[in-house]
Symmetry: D2
Subunit: 299 residues, 4 copies
Amino acid sequence: MQQNVYKPQHPIERSANRARMLISCPDRPGIVAAVSQFLYEHGANIVSSDQYTMNPDGGMFFIRFEFDLQDLDRELPKLQEDFVRVADRFEMKWHIFRASRKKRIAIFVSKEDHCLLELLWQWQAGDLDAEIAMVISNHPDMRQLVESFGIPYHHIPVTPETKAEAERLQLEKVHEGKVDLIVLARYMQIITPRFIEYFPNRIINIHHSFLPAFVGGKPYQQAYDRGVKIIGATAHYVTEELDGGPIIEQDVQRVSHRDDVASLKRIGRNIERTVLARAVKWHLEDRIIVFQNKTVVFN
Amino acid sequence: MQQNVYKPQHPIERSANRARMLISCPDRPGIVAAVSQFLYEHGANIVSSDQYTMNPDGGMFFIRFEFDLQDLDRELPKLQEDFVRVADRFEMKWHIFRASRKKRIAIFVSKEDHCLLELLWQWQAGDLDAEIAMVISNHPDMRQLVESFGIPYHHIPVTPETKAEAERLQLEKVHEGKVDLIVLARYMQIITPRFIEYFPNRIINIHHSFLPAFVGGKPYQQAYDRGVKIIGATAHYVTEELDGGPIIEQDVQRVSHRDDVASLKRIGRNIERTVLARAVKWHLEDRIIVFQNKTVVFN
Amino acid sequence: MQQNVYKPQHPIERSANRARMLISCPDRPGIVAAVSQFLYEHGANIVSSDQYTMNPDGGMFFIRFEFDLQDLDRELPKLQEDFVRVADRFEMKWHIFRASRKKRIAIFVSKEDHCLLELLWQWQAGDLDAEIAMVISNHPDMRQLVESFGIPYHHIPVTPETKAEAERLQLEKVHEGKVDLIVLARYMQIITPRFIEYFPNRIINIHHSFLPAFVGGKPYQQAYDRGVKIIGATAHYVTEELDGGPIIEQDVQRVSHRDDVASLKRIGRNIERTVLARAVKWHLEDRIIVFQNKTVVFN
Amino acid sequence: MQQNVYKPQHPIERSANRARMLISCPDRPGIVAAVSQFLYEHGANIVSSDQYTMNPDGGMFFIRFEFDLQDLDRELPKLQEDFVRVADRFEMKWHIFRASRKKRIAIFVSKEDHCLLELLWQWQAGDLDAEIAMVISNHPDMRQLVESFGIPYHHIPVTPETKAEAERLQLEKVHEGKVDLIVLARYMQIITPRFIEYFPNRIINIHHSFLPAFVGGKPYQQAYDRGVKIIGATAHYVTEELDGGPIIEQDVQRVSHRDDVASLKRIGRNIERTVLARAVKWHLEDRIIVFQNKTVVFN
C-alpha cells in the first residue's frame, strides 16, 4: 500500500438493501403489472422504474427497476428463484444486481494516461462505485502511478509474436481477479474474438472520434484533413467488428481552423476521458441493456 | 381562411386509443403494482412508464404512464370512475389525458415576433400537437401574420387605466375559446394574481435570461454590464411572484466580449424561441408535474 | 407585393462607409505592416482585424480586416487600384467588399420547408443581411408562402430526362437575377459540375448528418441503424465530390434509444436550419476563406 | 523529489523567440499600422493578431499580437525601450511577454481536491505551461498528494484570530516564490483587500455557480431550492467585491429534478475543474485584458 492513498471524499450512499433489475422481452400487456405485483408481494419497494417499448404492438419491451428489500442478501436467492415463473411466462431475459456488490474492473492501458487518470480520480472521489482490481499494460510506464493508488499493475508486453501468449496471461490475470468489466482506456491493441467471447458486452472501449466518422487509425489526423468543425469521442462495447460495437455514449467539442492535429489531440483527450468515465459509470450502475448492436441506456 | 395555410408536413402519429396518466402521492410500497395491475385488468397496455421518487422512505412518488386502451373514448369514463378506489387508497393526485384530444392554446404577444413565429411554424410542421385557438396582443402589428395561418387575432390594448378592463376582455376570450394553456410569447405585461388563479400552472412564460440571474427588466443590458460569457432563457409557469414560478426548461448560448447588447438580444432570441417551444411541447404531451414550486419533467 | 410583408424588426446597422477585406498569401514578415500602413495612408480606420497563420515559417497567411473609409463608394476604386502594388509584392489573393452592398441570394428548395422558413424569418428579422432574389424549386408547393414575402418563385421541374434543360433554365434565372450566392436549402437534387463551375465556393448546401459520418442518402436512417447518441448537420460549399466540399459549420444534438427515425428527423430539422443559417450569415459577412478544401472562418 | 513524478507527455512547443503583446488604448486611426510597422522594422514576424474595438469612433481599442523575433532574449529590452515612443503617441497600456518564460503559480486549496487535481494533471500533461511554485492550504490533507508531484506544500492554518497573521505568512511565501499568479482552487476563505492589492487581476477564483446567480455560500443548495435545469461555474479575477470581479470563463451542464444536492455537487465538480483550468490557461497564454470590470479574452 503506497503513501498517497486517501479515502474517497464523497462516498456514494448505497443501501445494503438496494437492488437493480434489468428486463427485456417481447412486448405484450401485463408485464409491468406482473413484475411490480411480484415485487410488492415479496416485500420490495420500487424506488425507481424506467421503461422503454420499441415499436408498441409487436416490438420489444425493456425495463429497469430499482427496489429496496429488507434483508436483501438473505432474501434475494428466494426472490430470484420465485421470479423464474414470471420470467418464463413473458420469455424474459433478466438480471438482478445488488447495488452494494461492487463490480470489479480491470483497466487496460498503453502509454496515454489521461483516461486512466480520470477513472482513478473519479473512483477516488467516490463517483465510480467499483473495485479497481488491476491495471494491465503492454508498457511499464504507469506502474508507480497505479501502485500509488494501491492498485496492482501487471506489465504484459505485447509483440506480434507474443500476442497469443500475452492474451493468455491477460485472461489468467482477469480470471484470477474475478473481473466483471474490462475497460480499454486507450489500450491501442486489437482484442481477439477469442478474448471477447469471455466478456460479451463487458469490454468498454473509448474510440477517439465521433463514430462512425473516422473509423480505424489516426482519427485526429483524419479529422484535421477533412476540416471538420466539431470533434468527438465514442465509448462502445467491443465486438468482433473493429469500432463497430454497440455505442454507449458520445460527446463532442467545437474546434476551428486554428486547431492543428496536436491541438485536436489535446482537446480530444478531454472528451475521451469524460465520455469513457460516463459509459463506465452507467455500466456500473446497471443502466445499460444491449439489443441488436445498440444500447438502451436508462439514465 | 387565408391563402398560405398549408397542411402540417410531418403529422404526429397519435393513436386514438393512447392515453397518458400523471400521478403524484406520498411514497409507499405497492403503488406501481396497484396501478399497473389496475390498468392490466382494464385491458390497457402500458407503452411507457417513468417514475421518480423524491427521498425514498417518507418522500413523494411521481409517475407518468402512457397506455393504449381499445375504444378509449367509450371506456375511459368507466376506467376513471374505477380508478378512484386506487387513488383514494394511496392519496393520489392524478389525471388521465387522451392523447388524441388536442389542447387549446392562446398565445399572448406584444411586439416581438420570434417566439410567436417559432410556435406557429412548429405547429404548422406538426411538431406542436395542439389547437392554436387564438392570439391575443396589446398591439395590432401581427394581425395579418396570424390570420394568414387561419388563427383568430384579438387586439386588446392595455394601458394603466384600462388594465383591469383589458384583463376582463382577455378572460372572456380565453373562456369562450375553451383555452387549456396560455403561452406568454414575450408578452411583456404583468399578469395579475386574479388572472393567474384561473390558470394555475397553465400559463407558460419565457423570461429572457438564465433565471435566477437577471430577474426583472432589461436582462440583456444587465448581462452585458456584468460581462457574462454565457446568456440564457428560462421558460416557467407563471405564479404571483415575478419571474419566480416553477422552471420548466432553460438553455444557454456562449457569448463573448465582442457581443454588444444588440448582439446579445439577437443571440438571445434564438434561445428564447427554442426554450419556449420545448416547454410548451412538454406541457402538451403531459410530461410535467409541479410540486412545491419545482417541476418534475418526464422527458 | 403581398399582404403579410412587414419590415425587419431589428435592422442591422451598416455604415455606408464600412468595408471588409479578405487576404490570403504565403506567409512572410511585413504583411500586416504593409496592409495596415496602406489603409492608414488612404484614410481608412481599421475597426476589426483577425489573422491566422497556418504553419508559421513557410506556411500560409490569412487575414480579414473591417475598416471605415470616408466616402467609400467614391474612394474604393482608387484604393483598390493602388492596392495592386501591395498585393503583387506579397502574391496575395484578395478581395474588398462593401458592407452596404447586399449580396443577392437564390434559395433552392424541394419539399421540405424548414430551412427555407428559417432563412426567410432571419432575413425578415434583419439577421441575414442580403437580398433574397428568388426561390427556385422543382416543386410548386411553396409558391404562396414565398410570394407572401414578396419574393419571386420559379417552379422548374426536374426529371431525369429534363435535367439538363432544367439546369439551363436555373442558370438563366440566377444570371438574370444577378445572384451572388446559391443556397441549397434541402434541395435534394445533385448539382452538375458544369453548374458548380459558375459558382465556385458560392453554393452552400446543408447535409443532414454530421459529415463525414453518413455520406449520401437517408442519413437519419443510417444514424438510427448505427445507434449513435448524437446527430448533426453540416453546411458546406458544394464541389464536384458529393458531400465532400469544404465544411463551413456543423452542429449536433443529443438523442437516445427512444428516438426512432421520425424523431431523429424532427430533431434534425432544428439542427439543419440553425447550421445552414449560420453558414449563410458568415458568407454574407465575408468571414470565410476557402483553402485546400477547408475553410478559414473568422468569427 | 518524489517517486511518481514523470515527464509531461505532451510538451507544448514554445519557440524561445516567440513573444506576445497586449495593448489597450483609446481607438483612433493608425494604431495597427504603427504597431505592425514598428514590429516589422525591428525584424519581428507577426504570427497571430486579434483585435477588438469597443464602439468604433470614440471607443476603446484592444489588440493581441504574437510575434517571432530572432534572439528574443537579447533584443527584447531594446525593442521595449523603442516601443515607448509608439505607446506614448497612442496613450497605450501595453505589455510584452516572452512565451518561453513560464509564469509561476501558487495554488490555494482547502479540503476539496478536484480543482487542484485537474490543474496538476493538465500541468503534468503539458497542457498548462507554467511553473507550479507551491500549493498553500489551510488544511494538511493534501500534502502527500502535492509533494508526490515534486511541489512544495505550505500548510498555513486560518482561524478568525490568526487570519491576519496567516495572510502575512501567505504573502511571504508567494513573494519568496516569485509568484505571478494565484489560483484559488476552491479555497473557501475570503481574501482581504490588502492581499488583493498585491495581485491586481492576478488572482483567479472559481465560483461554484453560474454568476451572478447564486452569489455567496451554498450555491448548489440554492440551485436545488430554485429548481434550475442547468447549473454552472464561473472563473473570475478576485476584486474587493465578493464574487463580483471580472468574469473570465463560465460553463454549464444540464441537470434535472432527479438530481439532489449531492448530485448537483458531483456534476458541478466537473464543471468547476474544467472552467478553472481554462481560465488559468488563458491567463498563462496572455490572452486576457481586463477593462472596466470585464474581460476581453482573445481565444
